[in-house]
Each structure stands twice: as C-alpha cells, then as structure tokens.
C-alpha cells in the first residue's frame, strides 16, 4: 500500500495530502490492492476547481482504510477486466462524467441520465427520449431459450426495477438487472445545498427510506468531522440504539416476507406485527416510525430521557421471547428448510470477487462487518456477532439475519443498561466546514456498508458528495445467485437480499 494514504473512518484529511498519482501508477496500485484482500469502499470521479476530472478511491484492506487519487482522461483503460469489483463503479463514472473505460466488459448505463460535463454520451443514448434507451440486454441464443422480462412495474408495492431472465425451461441461465427508474439526483441535490445546510439531513434520510438512520449517521459523522463538532456519549448511545432498531425491524420484516414467499403464513403475520413494535420503538425515540428527524450533525435532536429508555427496554424484553419462538417456528418447519436450503447460492469466491457487503456477504463467508472493523458511535463497546452457517444460500442469509436480530436485541439491552445523558442539540445550526478537505464515513446499516464521502473546496462549500448504498455492491450478487436456479425461486432469492432500488438509483 505504498502509494496510498492511510486514513481513519470519519477522519478529515486535507485534499492536498491525498496522493495524486499518474494514472498508470494509480491503476497498478489499486489493482494490486483489490485483486485479493482489498475491497472498494468508494471509487468516484469529480471535477475540481480547475474543471479537471479527478478520480478518488477509498479501499479497505483488513482493518485499514486507504485512499489515493489521480487525474482521469476522457478515455482510460478499464480496471474491470482485471478486477470485477470495479464493474459498477466504472459504469457509474462513465454515466456521471462521460469518461469512457476502454475494454469494460459490460458498459451500460446505470441510471439513464446525462453526464454533468456535457460530454458526448458514452452509451450513445439520447436523453430527450424517455426510457427505454439504447441499451442491449445480455442474450442467450438457441431455440430452447426463452426470455422473461419482469418489471419495471411490479405487482404489489415494491419499487421499480427491470429484470431480464434468459431461461431454458424453468432454469435461469442469466439474469440481468436494470435499475435507475428512481434516479432523483441525490448527489447533485446534496452538492447544491446552501448554508446553513439544514436541508442536507432531510435529503439524506430519503436516499433509502428503510435505511434512514444508516444514511443520516454517515452524513452526520461526515459533517461533524468537517465542522469539528463533538457528539456527547449519550447521543452516541442513542444513535447506536436507533441503528440497531432499524436493523431489527427490517430483518424481522424480511424474515416474515421470506416466510410468506414460500406460502408459510403464520411467521409472516407474527413478524409483521413484531416489526411494527420495533418501528414504534423508533417512534418513541424519534417521533417517526422510520427514525427520521432523530440524527442530526452534532448529536440527536430529541431528548431521550429515562422514560423513553424504559419504554424501549421493556418493549425489547417483552418482544425477545416472541421473536425467538417465531424464528423457531420458521426455521424448524421442514418444508420451509427444503425451500431455503441450496437455493440461490452465492459461493464465497464469487462473493469475494464481487465484493459483497453486509449480511449477504457474511452469509457467503465474508466476515466483514463495519461495526467491528470501523466502529463508530458506541459500537466499540459492543461484542461482535458470530454467524454459524455461511454457505451463501437463502437459508444462510435468513439465518444470518436471525442471528443479527438476536445480537442486536442483546446490544440494545446492554446499551440501555448504562446511565446516559443524551442532551439534545439545537437545530438548525450553522456549520462551517473545513476547506479543501476530504472525509469518508462508513457505517454498517442493516443491509451492509453505507459510505458517504465529502470533498470541500477552498471556501468550505461542498465540492463533491458521494453516496454509496450497500445495494450498489449487492445487486450483482442477486443476479449471480439466480444462475442455474429455477425461475420460480427468484422472488425468494430477491427477498433474501432485499436490496434497495432507490438507494442504488440515488
């Protein structure tokens, strides 16, 4: 890691300190770092004050974070043929800035929008036309092959996304996932925000509605670092509890949905009710069932007194046995296990090549958990979670979630045992951000590693705000899990990942 700058999670560094390498050196260094043990946290482009296109990457290797940068030409040799982890990132840069990665194996648009530099479109799309644009799907030839197109409008209340299956009978040979239907221009909205920056947290909470706490934590930590704000220990504990409540409510809801997808109804109903209880606990803390409005740069906005903590503590104690029972009901039904086991397997080496994160990665045997590796808030004082079954199938993903629920319940109980003083902060507040600085923040939201990266210019305004939802890594994992699976198992595999459409689309 010679050419890299070693950084910490949430540490402000001067932009001048980030190594500005030659592209060829940069490429070699990044590939060496990521080919085996390293994983990509951030890999994005921005135009600096002189309108030069720059590239910055943040790589994690073991317990360490590294960063490096370079200037980017309008055409550059793609890194993806050497290392698949860059596949989506390079497509994103091509779309956002019109820089063409040469020899990229599958260069398609990510979200269907014009690049911000007014360059000729890399994909040959005319954006004055609505979707569908000019993007061929991967096809398989042969008389016995049939193509099934699903979406972007689906039955039920899920988000829009297009799934293109190439099937031989019931067997899926290839699945291609095309998203972007919910692109709102989040990064641009964040960059255009003006002082006193009170609009930012609200935008950030809407990146992915089910990860409101995860994203707002990343954002708040970034602003806190750049503005030099201290967060009191009580607020850190409350923010940790909120993130864990978000994790539990989502995992519980998804275990229920998994059960419903295999037509095993009792756990669906029970978990549905229990999910509501956990959302209501967030309501107790934040006044909002999804925890919106609680976390703000500098701490928390609402007072969390003994009364609120008692309500949450009692409720957690009350629900824990019920959750354990319903989990037993679900995981001991042999017809359910027959569906979960050996379905949608993502083997460890595939997961490693793609750089899967979060519970999906852990279910495939990648033990990375940002709560342990890069602890923020009150995570340093909590114990790590262990996963028993990690073979990468639906059962593993379900079981990892079950273990995480139990672990999170224990963590919340432990945290609530402490006597904390969580004084709320006054908002809105005017924050002066450090000029010419760079900060990256990482948190383990319920889906996995959420990361925000901020660059400021010489006036302390936001030059580039990069958001990365774990779904950005994991959608490819879902596509891989369907290889040689029955097409009728797709909904089950999909739910076992339950990735965010809007978190990906930004």
């Amino acid at each position: 890691m010679d050419n890299f700058l070693h950084i910490q999670n949430g540490q402000v560094v001067s932009r001048a300190d980030i190594p500005d390498l030659d592209f060829s050196i940069f490429q070699e260094a990044v590939l060496n770092a990521t080919r085996h043990s390293g994983f990509v946290v951030q890999f994005f482009a921005y135009t600096d004050e002189q309108s030069i296109l720059k590239l910055i990457t943040v790589i994690r290797a073991g317990l360490d974070l590294y960063t490096a940068g370079c200037s980017l030409a309008d055409e550059y040799p793609s890194l993806t043929p050497e290392c698949e982890k860059f596949h989506m990132f390079e497509r994103e840069i091509a779309e956002q800035f019109g820089a063409h990665p040469k020899n990229h194996p599958w260069l398609k648009m990510v979200r269907y929008h014009e690049n911000c530099r007014g360059k000729k479109d890399v994909f040959g799309n005319d954006y004055s036309h609505d979707i569908p644009g000019n993007y061929p799907y991967f096809t398989v030839d042969g008389d016995a092959i049939h193509e099934v197109a699903v979406g972007p409008v689906h039955a039920g209340i899920i988000e829009p996304g297009h799934f293109r299956f190439q099937c031989a009978g019931e067997e899926v040979l290839s699945l291609e996932i095309q998203l972007g239907y919910q692109h709102r221009g989040v990064e641009k909205l964040l960059e255009q925000a003006e002082q006193p920056l009170t609009r930012l947290p609200t935008i950030v909470e809407s990146i992915a509605g089910d990860t409101a706490i995860g994203h707002s934590l990343c954002h708040s930590q970034a602003i806190e670092a750049l503005a030099g704000l201290k967060v009191n220990d009580g607020a850190k504990v409350v923010r940790t509890i909120a993130l864990e409540l978000e994790r539990i409510s989502n995992h519980v809801g998804d275990l229920g949905a998994l059960s419903g997808d295999v037509a095993f109804n009792p756990p669906l109903n029970y978990f549905g009710r229990i999910r509501g209880e956990f959302l209501n606990m967030l309501l107790t803390l934040a006044g909002n069932r999804f925890g919106k409005g609680l976390v703000r740069p500098g701490g928390i906005v609402f007072p969390v007194l003994e009364e609120q903590r008692r309500i949450v503590r009692d409720k957690v104690a009350e629900e824990t046995p019920g959750i354990a029972d319903v989990c037993d009901l679900l995981f001991s039904a042999h017809t359910v296990l027959a569906r979960f086991e050996h379905t949608g397997t993502v083997p460890r080496n595939t997961a490693e090549k793609l750089g899967l994160v979060g519970f999906a990665g852990r279910a495939s045997g990648l033990s990375y958990d940002a709560r342990i590796t890069f602890p923020t808030e009150a995570y340093a004082q909590l114990e790590a979670n262990k996963n028993k079954r990690t073979v990468g199938d639906v059962y593993s993903r379900a079981n990892v979630r079950r273990e995480e629920i139990m672990h999170s319940l224990q963590s919340i109980t432990d945290l609530l045992r402490q006597d904390i003083d969580a004084a709320p902060i006054a908002v809105p507040a005017y924050h002066t951000l450090a000029p010419d600085s760079f900060v990256v923040t990482i948190n383990e939201a319920w889906r996995g590693e959420v990361s925000h990266c901020m660059l400021t210019d010489k006036n302390g305004s936001i030059l580039r705000y990069k958001v990365k939802d774990p779904s950005f890594h994991n959608w490819t994992g879902l596509a891989m899990s369907l290889r040689n699976q029955g097409i009728s198992d797709f909904p089950l595999c999909n739910k076992s990942f339950n990735l965010s459409y809007c978190g990906f689309d930004l």
Partner: protein, 311 residues
C-alpha cells in the same frame, strides 16, 4: 346408455353450488386462525363475486375472442361436472354409464381453453404458468385414471359417479376394501391440492407472478370474466371435495336430511383440513411438485395391484 333426471337432485345441486364460496371462506378462516389473525369474513368470496360481477372487463388489444371464451368454457365445464355428481348420496341430475371418463375430459377441455386464453395474451408469465399447469395436470391425470380403473374393479364394472356412490355396490371407507380406499383418499387429496392450485403445489394468495402456476394464467382477466373463473374454480374444488366426502361416509342409505347435514359437516371439515395443510406447510420447490403428484400415482397404482388376485 341410461339417462336419469330428478328435480330434488337439481335443488340439492343448486344449494351445494351456492354454498361453494362459503366453503372457500372456511379455508381462509382456518388460515387466518393459524396466522393469529381474525381474517376476512366467512362470506368474503360472495362479496368478491358480487364486486367482480358489477365491474366491467378490460381487454388487451392484442387478444382475440379466445381470450373471452376461456372463462366461459372453464366455468361451464366445471359446472357440468356437478350435474353428474351424487351429492349426499342423492342420485345426480344427469347420469349415464361411462360419464366419469367424459367428466374428466370436460375438466381437460376447460383447462385447454384457460391455457389458450393465457397464451392468447402473449405474456411470458402466462405462457410459463400454462406450461406448468399442463405438465402438472398431465401427471395428475395418470392418478385419476388409475383411480377409475380401481373403482371399476371395486364396484363391479361401474363407470359413473351415480353407480359409485348411490348404487348397490358402492365404494367407500365402510366397505370391504377399506384399506384400499384409504390409499385412494390420500391420493385424491393430493390431486385435489394439485388441481385446485393449493399449497404445497401452488399458492393462491401470492402476488409473485414468477412462482404462480394457475393464478398467473388468469392475470389478464378482469370483472365478470374473473368472476366466472372464480366460480369455475369453486365448482372444481366442490367436485373434488365431494368426491372425497362420498368415500368417507356411506350416504346411499338413511334419511336424506341427515345425509345432507352429515355431507355438509364433512365437507366443512375437509375444507378446514385444506386450510390446516396450507397453514402448516410451505410450498414445494417447483421441481419437487412432480414427485409429490406422482406419489399419489404410486399409492393408487399399488391399491389397484392389490385388487388383482394375482397369486
């Protein structure tokens, strides 16, 4: 060929037919109970039918008259089935020697038109569902015809429902061949679940098109067309349940009123049993379903061999 016709039977048929949606409500109630919910009212299926019948139908411009024909044929064929069935031991409205063979092919005809209507929409989902439905019911047909062979032997050469359940040499659990009938009952229950798209073969409640078998074929139907399809499926369910019920209890003797009460009771319990099965099992993986259906075939095939005094 001998035809019979009776007005009492017609009245009974109409009563039983009008109860069909109520029985479906029983399944939903049982499922809701196991799910810890209060569930929809027992009469929900009546409300659904009334709602659908008051709506208009929407037709895709890419479909032809076949698409409109599908629901009608599937309802009519399913209803015709009931005309030939001796509910509660009372002789059926219509009957002739050999009607069973015609009836199962009438079901096949209804299915054929449902499949055609599904293919007519040119949707990849519906084609997939049609392929599954045809495959699984072809397997189920093997079981059904072995059952008919078995019944032919047990009832001394009968080939009509009237003879099976209201004649002299009736087939039921209380006759000499009870052991064989138990095997037939299990097999027939499997066929009932298969043919009526119930868990563990299919999930009638799912919204996931890719996993559906029967439901996906009727996705494009709406309003009165959908109501016809629903009523057709109620009839089919009624037919299979009554088939099982008549094997469970000898309705051909005794007082008609009591027979009717017992019939309705057993039917209700049977529907509750279906609800119970749906509550405690998950769906099978699609490639496991043929094994499940062929299990029924193995059972009745074994039963048939036992009737042949080979030794």
């Amino acid at each position: 060929m001998e035809f019979t016709f009776s007005f009492a039977s017609l009245l009974l048929l109409l009563v039983v037919f009008s109860l069909a949606p109520l029985f479906m409500g029983v399944i939903l109630k049982v499922k809701a109970f196991f799910g810890g919910k209060q569930g929809a009212p027992l009469l929900i299926k009546y409300y659904t039918l009334i709602k659908l019948l008051r709506k208009g139908s929407v037709y895709s411009t890419s479909t032809t008259f076949i698409f409109k024909l599908g629901p009608i044929v599937s309802f009519v064929t399913a209803f015709m089935l009931l005309l030939f069935f001796p509910f509660a031991g009372l002789s059926p409205v219509l009957s002739f020697h050999g009607d069973v063979i015609m009836l199962f092919y009438l079901l096949g005809l209804g299915r054929f038109f449902t499949v055609l209507a599904a293919l007519d929409t040119a949707s990849p989902f519906e084609g997939m569902g049609a392929a599954r439905e045809v495959f699984f019911s072809a397997l189920a047909e093997a079981t059904i015809f072995i059952i008919l062979v078995l019944f032919f032997r047990l009832s001394g050469g009968s080939l009509s429902f009237a003879e099976y359940f209201s004649g002299n040499q009736v087939v039921n659990l209380w006759s000499q061949s009870a052991a064989l009938i138990i095997l037939v009952l299990i097999a027939l229950f499997i066929i009932l679940l298969t043919e009526n798209s119930r868990v563990p073969v299919d999930d009638p409640a799912t919204h996931l098109e890719l996993t559906m078998i029967h439901e996906v074929m009727i996705l494009d139907h709406s309003g009165p067309d959908l109501a016809l399809i629903e009523m057709g499926s109620f009839c089919k369910m009624l037919f299979y349940s009554a088939f099982i019920t008549c094997m469970l209890y000898p309705f051909h003797t005794g007082i008609a009123v009591f027979n009717f009460i017992i019939f309705i009771t057993i039917m209700t319990l049977l529907y509750a049993g279906i609800g119970l099965v749906e509550s405690i099992t998950a769906r099978y993986k699609m490639d496991m379903v043929p094994n499940f259906i062929l299990t029924s075939f193995a059972l009745v095939f074994f039963a048939t061999i036992l009737t042949m005094e080979l030794v």
